[in-house]
């Protein structure tokens, strides 16, 4: 009876098997699983999602703590802090003063953890796993086994990065972009020894995890949509995750080759990236390589990577803003087109990271052009969000505030990208704090706000309970105010010419009168970090003690809210739901309820998709 409910594919058989399971024995199914199979090596998409989320929360805490340590150093260089000594120990924080090499490691690992472990693995891993099967109406991912491996490689990767903090010479310290020769030669800095080796191992695990996950996401979305779930009826969340996964599958292998060649250069004496180097009193044998090759390979991943980070956050936001405005997302088709356009363009803009590397200036002009084009679909998205709020009946749940916060920071950080993408202007602000301000706001803060919005919104699907609203409000405002407080002033540091990744600015009298800006930034950072304690408490407390949620707490249309509030293996106890309409029929005129779930058939003569023509 379920045969007609699935898309045609070879996964068909497997899905049927799933159905069979559920029909015949879902009631006692969970009881047969051992603890290990259920909570550790689980193949259930919901458990894997929770595993990704909790790992990411822990990693985010580590990265945040690191940022506080180096912010203290930047605000009060030379000052002694018992706190720094307590965190960094006598070796890296002797007398409470941060060691310069440790500073380098901290900024490097902070970036690595945030970019890869939290905002790529954590964000995509949590919400792709949770929402793909739920929102397209599938019992699980195409391959539960690969999905499980994806998490465990991610776990290994995270553990390896943490271990690398404890090696004798310190963790990798050449910046998260690990440009060789600095990262290739232990003579160049201590962190380029064992620490860097571990970094490369961690990254390899991460890439494996990302590819296993990404392939799974793509296959599941293409093949396992339930009956009636046309591509043009998918929630934007799934569209965003879909394009993100494609970007990841196309770009992470390039990072892998990039890392592999670096491993060869470091360990086997090749010279892909090395040439004419005299270091530690000796000339190196390697000649003929080019560090610029590394930069090309790195940024060929590196730029799509920032969209891999932001697109899922935008996807979550689309859903949350629509639900809480009680209105359809404005310009559904335009939003899909924008996601596709951003995805495509993200592959032909990597050179804007390299205007000043010695790359041919003509190439620079080409990349200016392609990069600035991205502003168009981005602007469309921003305006569409704002127009979704227009004439809405906005329910300010905490997740709605986080989603609105994302739109704000996406705009505020996005506009400075227009300046950085302009190669002529980049000459003077390249690698200054202007860049730090830009990418933290547009990518870091926006994606974190999006991720937090997702956590608050889908907490009932993750843990069957609600998080506390009042703490959510507090958490949002502290985070949001401090995010602007931390990163806004950095633009001015950049315009004053302050380079990033400086241990302290005291070697230059021209930066002396900027110290109070650094103090202001650090104070905001400390308050922001304390604000996260509210979240951590709320999060862990609510997992166990939060009030139980009803099945569809926000009156949403999407399919995940048609499943019972239980961790049912296979998601729907009975048949898979059938989809009849797009997901954004909120406040449709002439209807009593202000929402119409996707499973409700179209009425006689009713047009699907809010008047969009297929």
């Amino acid at each position: 009876m379920t045969t007609d409910m699935h898309a045609h594919s070879e996964l068909h058989a497997q899905s049927l098997e799933h159905d069979a399971h559920v029909h015949h024995g879902h009631d006692d199914h969970d009881h047969h699983q051992s603890f290990v199979a259920k909570y550790v090596f689980s193949m259930d998409h919901k458990t894997i999602s929770r595993q990704f989320l909790i790992t990411a929360v822990i990693m985010a805490c580590v990265a945040m703590l690191m940022s506080i340590v180096f912010r203290l150093q930047l605000a009060w260089p030379g000052e002694k802090f018992a706190f720094i000594n307590a965190i960094m120990g006598d070796k890296w924080g002797k007398d409470g003063i941060l060691d310069p090499n440790a500073y380098m490691s901290l900024v490097t690992i902070h970036g690595t953890i945030m970019v890869f472990m939290v905002l790529t693995g954590g964000l995509s891993g949590t919400f792709a796993n949770l929402l793909i099967p739920y929102q397209i109406g599938a019992r699980d991912m195409a391959s539960g086994f690969l999905n499980m491996l994806s998490y465990w490689f991610f776990f290994l990767s995270s553990v390896t990065i943490i271990i690398s903090l404890f090696v004798t010479d310190g963790a990798a310290s050449g910046g998260w972009t690990v440009y060789p020769p600095l990262s290739a030669l232990p003579q160049a800095m201590p962190g380029s020894g064992t620490g860097m080796t571990l970094w490369l191992i961690a990254m390899s695990f991460f890439i494996i995890s990302s590819l296993l996950g990404g392939l799974n996401y793509i296959i599941t979305i293409i093949n396992m949509r339930t009956k009636g779930m046309k591509m043009t009826r998918m929630p934007l969340t799934i569209w965003a995750i879909f394009v993100t996964a494609i970007l990841g599958v196309l770009s992470f292998p390039v990072l892998f080759s990039c890392a592999l060649l670096l491993i060869f250069d470091r360990s086997f004496g090749t010279s892909f990236y090395l040439s004419d180097i005299f270091i530690g009193g000796h000339p190196l044998d390697q000649t003929g390589g080019s560090p610029i090759l590394f930069e090309h390979l790195f940024w060929f991943l590196g730029h799509p990577e920032v969209y891999i980070i932001i697109l899922p956050a935008l996807g979550l936001t689309s859903e949350i803003i629509s639900v809480n405005s009680r209105k359809p997302i404005f310009g559904y088709r335009a939003m899909i087109t924008s996601i596709l356009a951003i995805g495509f363009l993200s592959f032909i803009v990597w050179g804007h990271h390299m205007f000043l590397t010695g790359m041919n200036p003509f190439l620079g002009s080409v990349f200016v052009f392609t990069t600035l084009l991205i502003a168009i679909p981005s602007a469309v998205k921003a305006f569409n969000y704002i127009t979704t709020l227009w004439k809405g009946n906005i329910q300010f749940t905490p997740q709605m505030l986080f989603a609105c916060g994302l739109v704000s920071t996406f705009i505020s950080g996005g506009v400075t990208g227009i300046i950085l993408a302009d190669s002529a202007l980049d000459i003077n602000i390249h690698d200054t704090y202007f860049v730090v301000a830009h990418f933290h706001i547009v990518m870091g803060v926006s994606a974190i706000l999006g991720m937090l919005a997702g956590v608050y919104h889908w907490f009932p699907k993750l843990f069957l309970r609600h998080m506390n609203k009042t703490m959510g409000y507090l958490h949002f405002w502290i985070t949001f105010i401090c995010a602007y407080g931390v990163f806004f002033p950095m633009h001015f540091l950049g315009l004053a010419g302050v380079p990033r990744r400086y241990y302290q600015n005291t070697a230059f009298p021209m930066f002396d009168n900027l110290q109070d800006i650094n103090v202001l930034i650090t104070i905001f950072a400390i308050i922001a970090a304390c604000g996260q304690l509210i979240f951590l408490f709320n999060f862990f407390y609510s997992i166990f003690r939060g009030p139980k949620s009803v099945q569809n707490p926000y009156n949403s249309n999407t399919l995940e809210w048609t499943t019972p509030m239980a961790n049912t293996h296979g998601n729907w106890p009975g048949e898979l739901p059938e989809v009849h309409r797009w997901p954004y029929d909120y406040s449709r005129p002439g209807e009593e309820a202000d929402f119409i779930p996707q499973t409700v058939p179209l009425r006689e003569g009713e047009e699907d998709g809010g008047g969009h023509h297929a």
Binding site: Y179, S275, G358, V380, T387, Q395, F396, N428, G497, P547
Partner: protein, 331 residues
């Protein structure tokens, strides 16, 4: 002192937690679900959004007023003045976008907060509006792209023939300058020749290098004369950043990179313009290069042609007193 801070933090956390509990319990007593968003929540949050917007704008303006005099002073180079002009235009454009779109966002939150019994208006899309906000940014961006690429091409085009060549040699953690001497040709070099007595690895078989001299502590530039820097690194990637000249180029081992500009104010003049009698032009490293990255710099002095000639005479060529291999060089 620190323990006091920790103590205060714990106290603050406890206070917040208690506050939350009180709110929760009181709503429980009233029989309301404490996590259900109510109309008064919506009204309050909508108002805070608008207040936040104005606070953000106030912060923005305050920063401009407070920090504007601490930004980089007027450009010391000719092309830098054009960059500053374009930067100002761009900053104005993006500031307008920032102020207006954020206003729209927060105002919508304030205006359309959820009221009981109210219904949202069903608006799914509007092609005309969407054309506007695709078209207008596109037009503005094309102007920005056009101006940007034009200036980029101007700045990065090859310098006029005969421009003075100066080599910037970067290593962990200092810069050195090598002047090309009378012939304006930098002699060849090879990293295999580097030793304690030949730190730049100069090649003694190249006659053009015999008038080159090295300045390890200063780059002296004559005012109003174009200068072309050829950059070379000994070990890792560095970046030669001249903030006051709006000039920057990475210094990459295994290859040469170039940047040229024309200094338009002498150091003296800049001291006058900035009102800072200690002002100095500076070259600093702007690409992470190791533990002392934060202290890798070289002083730059811009003087008159006469001062430059005097300064040049004080320096002796690296191969001073040795005979160049003229015969071999000419063959």
């Amino acid at each position: 002192m620190h323990y006091l801070i920790y103590f205060l933090l714990i106290l603050a956390a406890a206070a917040i937690w208690q506050l939350v509990r009180v709110v929760e319990l009181s709503s429980k007593l009233k029989g309301i679900d404490p996590n259900k968003v109510t109309e008064s929540d919506n009204r309050l949050q909508g108002r805070i959004m608008l207040v936040f917007y104005f606070a953000l704008m106030a912060f923005f303006v305050w920063q401009i007023m407070e920090y504007k005099d601490r930004l980089l002073p007027v450009s010391g180079s000719v092309h830098g003045a054009k960059i500053d002009w374009l930067m100002d235009i761009n900053l104005i454009i993006v500031s307008i976008v920032f102020v207006v779109t954020n206003f729209l966002l927060f105002y919508m939150g304030f205006k359309y907060y959820g009221r009981d019994g109210q219904r949202a208006t069903f608006v799914a899309h509007n092609n005309k509006l969407e054309m506007i906000w695709t078209g207008v940014p596109a037009v503005v961006l094309f102007v920005i792209i056009f101006l940007g690429i034009r200036l980029w091409n101007d700045t990065m085009s090859l310098p006029p023939k005969g421009t003075r060549m100066i080599e910037i040699y970067a290593q962990q953690f200092n810069f050195k300058a090598r002047y090309s001497g009378k012939d304006n040709v930098l002699g060849k070099s090879n990293y295999l020749l580097i030793n304690d007595n030949n730190e730049l690895g100069l090649d003694s078989t190249d006659a053009t290098g015999y008038d080159d001299f090295i300045s390890p502590d200063t780059i002296f530039l004559p005012v109003d004369e174009e200068v072309d820097f050829e950059m070379r690194s000994r070990d890792v990637i560095h970046s030669a950043y001249f903030p006051h000249f709006r000039a920057q180029m990475n210094v990459v081992p295994g290859m040469q990179t170039y940047f040229h500009f024309n200094p338009r104010y002498t150091t003296e003049k800049m001291r006058e313009l900035t009102g800072n009698k200690d002002f100095d032009y500076i070259l600093l490293c702007n690409k992470i290069c190791g533990v002392s990255h934060f202290n890798m710099q070289l002083k730059i002095v811009v003087g008159t042609r006469a001062e430059f000639d005097v300064w040049t005479k004080r320096h002796v060529p690296f191969y001073s007193g040795k005979t160049p291999p003229s015969a071999t060089a000419q063959n």
